[in-house]
């Protein structure tokens, strides 16, 4: 006999889990909807191509877009190669399940769990107050502070550490997905480990590596905390011209407009629009990752 308990569970479990699923879908649409409706009215060519004016209530967010672009690019140039090489080492070179690989894996997992603000403080302490100070001692003229201050380089390096676990994990997965038979085929033809990695493993993992890179970029693009103390500027009249310059940033721009603005009502429209631009960029990057992977995979099968 089907007990009452079972009958109730039979209805309650699918009901509740369905509701939970609906809830998460609904929140996405509500958030996106509010941002879209609030922001779309303020989006214009002028908005994306001009600097802010009148205490952020007028003009555009062009410097913030450019700043974000450079920061993300620098971050990727450093983080993706390091992450990829780490993943290659973990999969292809390090002895499996040895103490050293376990330590590295533990480090990567821990890194992924550290709050973003801690990275910001780490960047301030390590890059600016240690690396920067030392570099100034070596390179800068006496008494001039060149590197020991927040700038786009330190911000990007901090960010690349934050995104390292994302890159490592996705590249690792891509490398592990390369069939073992292909490696064996390569070794059997007299290839060394390095030749096998370069000629077989990496070309076959390239979609995964790119996916990892793009995921890291979209994760990093939205983060604000790590750059708070390491390079982002409240307002700059000019674009960054070198590694020692500070920069404006979309996420940080949203943050300061929300918390620091003197004219809350005046900046509200701009705030919504900036958020919309940031979300659109992140979304576009994700879309690009998916499309890229799809096309590369298709090309690999048909060629």
């Amino acid at each position: 006999m089907l007990t009452l308990k079972k009958k109730i569970l039979g209805v309650a479990v699918p009901g509740l889990s369905g509701a939970a699923a609906f809830f998460s879908v609904a929140s996405v649409f509500i958030i996106l909807g509010i941002i879209f409706i609030g922001g779309i009215g303020n989006i214009s060519w002028e908005f994306v191509s001009q600097a802010p004016r009148e205490g952020m209530t007028e003009g555009g967010i062009f410097p913030a877009i450019v700043g974000t672009f450079w920061r993300v690019l620098l971050m990727s140039l450093v983080g993706v190669p390091i992450g990829t090489i780490t993943a290659i080492w973990m999969c292809e070179y390090a002895p499996q399940n040895s103490p050293i690989t376990r330590i590295v894996r533990f480090a990567v997992n821990t890194l992924a769990g550290i709050p973003a603000i801690v990275f910001g403080l780490f960047g301030l302490g390590f890059f600016i107050q240690f690396c920067g100070v030392e570099m100034d001692k070596m390179f800068a003229p006496e008494g001039v502070i060149q590197w020991a201050q927040p700038n786009i380089l330190w911000a990007s390096l901090t960010m690349s550490i934050l995104t390292l676990p994302v890159v490592i994990v996705s590249v690792e997965e891509a490398i592990r997905n390369v069939p073992q038979e292909l490696r064996e085929g390569s070794y059997a033809l007299g290839a060394t480990r390095l030749e096998t990695v370069l000629r077989v493993v990496l070309p076959n993992a390239v979609t995964g590596i790119l996916t990892g890179a793009i995921l890291a970029v979209s994760r990093g693009a939205g983060e604000v905390a790590p750059i708070l103390f390491t390079g982002a500027a409240y307002f700059l009249p000019h674009l960054p011209e070198g590694l020692t310059d500070q920069f404006m940033d979309l996420g940080y721009h949203i943050y300061i407009m929300t918390t620091q603005s003197a004219d809350v009502d005046g900046t509200k429209g701009v705030l919504f629009a900036t958020t919309l631009v940031l979300l659109t960029l992140t979304f576009a990057l994700n879309l690009a990752a998916i499309t890229l992977r799809y096309h590369l995979r298709k090309r690999m099968i048909q060629a």
Binding site: E181, G185, Y187, L189, G190, M300, A303
Partner: protein, 254 residues
């Protein structure tokens, strides 16, 4: 046994996976330009033995090997011998055809590029010759730029044979090369084995006893890590001397 003309042989070869012994003092010598078939139930050590011949086992963590593996009289596990050099001289074909996800041309060229041959004209000569030797040229000569993955299973396996032949190995190891193929593709592979025997020494692992009987000159029967019986194929399949061989090939096992 006349070891003078042995192309490749093992002497008291033992192999351990951790503490499990997978090969127990196997001494077996393969004659030049003969096809030697390895038969036996799954897990009997025949594939493991095969993979000792081109040092593929040492990539597996926890494997330890002792005893001698001699190629043309030289111990390939010797201190001065590089596994990479050994593998250039001993080609291998796997159970699952494993073409690289590249063009047919690039698949064959792979081994030569490793050796620093990069000129297209040189590569083309060798690609054509290898594909002809693998009886695949006529089927693919117009589509060399197409992905190797677009070929049928049987064609892919012949492509892998061509790829191995391109580096001119003197020994070809085949690990169940036709077990995933239809009968027609299988018979093409078998024809190829008989053809290649003229220029190569071939060692083939197979679960298909008819196949071993058809293509090989000598057959070795492995059981639980030991070499039970080794001899001319026509004797082994009609009048084996060991009880275990008899039981296995007549299907009265266990």
């Amino acid at each position: 046994m006349n070891n003078e003309s042995a192309k490749i042989e093992t002497r008291d070869l033992n192999l351990f996976y951790g503490t499990t012994q997978a090969l127990k003092s196997v001494s077996l010598s393969v004659q030049e330009r003969e096809v030697t078939a390895l038969i036996g139930p799954s897990g009997c050590g025949k594939s493991t033995w095969l993979r000792c011949l081109n040092r593929m086992n040492e990539m597996i963590p926890g494997v330890s090997i002792n005893g001698g593996v001699l190629l043309d009289g030289v111990d390939i596990y010797g201190k001065s011998v590089d596994a990479v050099e050994v593998r250039k001289r001993i080609g291998m074909i796997f159970q699952k055809s494993n073409p690289f996800p590249q063009s047919i041309f690039e698949n064959i060229a792979y081994g030569m590029r490793l050796q620093g041959i990069n000129k297209h004209a040189d590569l083309h000569v060798i690609v054509e010759r290898s594909l002809r030797r693998a009886a695949l040229w006529d089927e693919v000569k117009d589509v060399l730029k197409k992905s190797a993955l677009a070929l049928s299973g049987g064609q892919q396996q012949r492509l892998c044979i061509a790829r191995a032949l391109a580096v001119e190995p003197s020994v070809l190891l085949m690990d169940e090369p036709a077990s995933a193929l239809d009968p027609l593709s299988t018979s093409k592979i078998e024809d190829l084995i008989c053809e290649l025997k003229e220029s190569c020494t071939i060692v083939i692992v197979t679960h298909n006893m008819q196949q071993a009987a058809r293509v090989s000159d000598k057959t070795a029967f492995f059981f639980e890590g030991e070499l039970i019986e080794f001899g001319a194929t026509d004797i082994l399949f009609t009048a084996p001397t060991k009880r275990k061989t008899e039981d296995y090939i007549t299907g009265r096992f266990g």
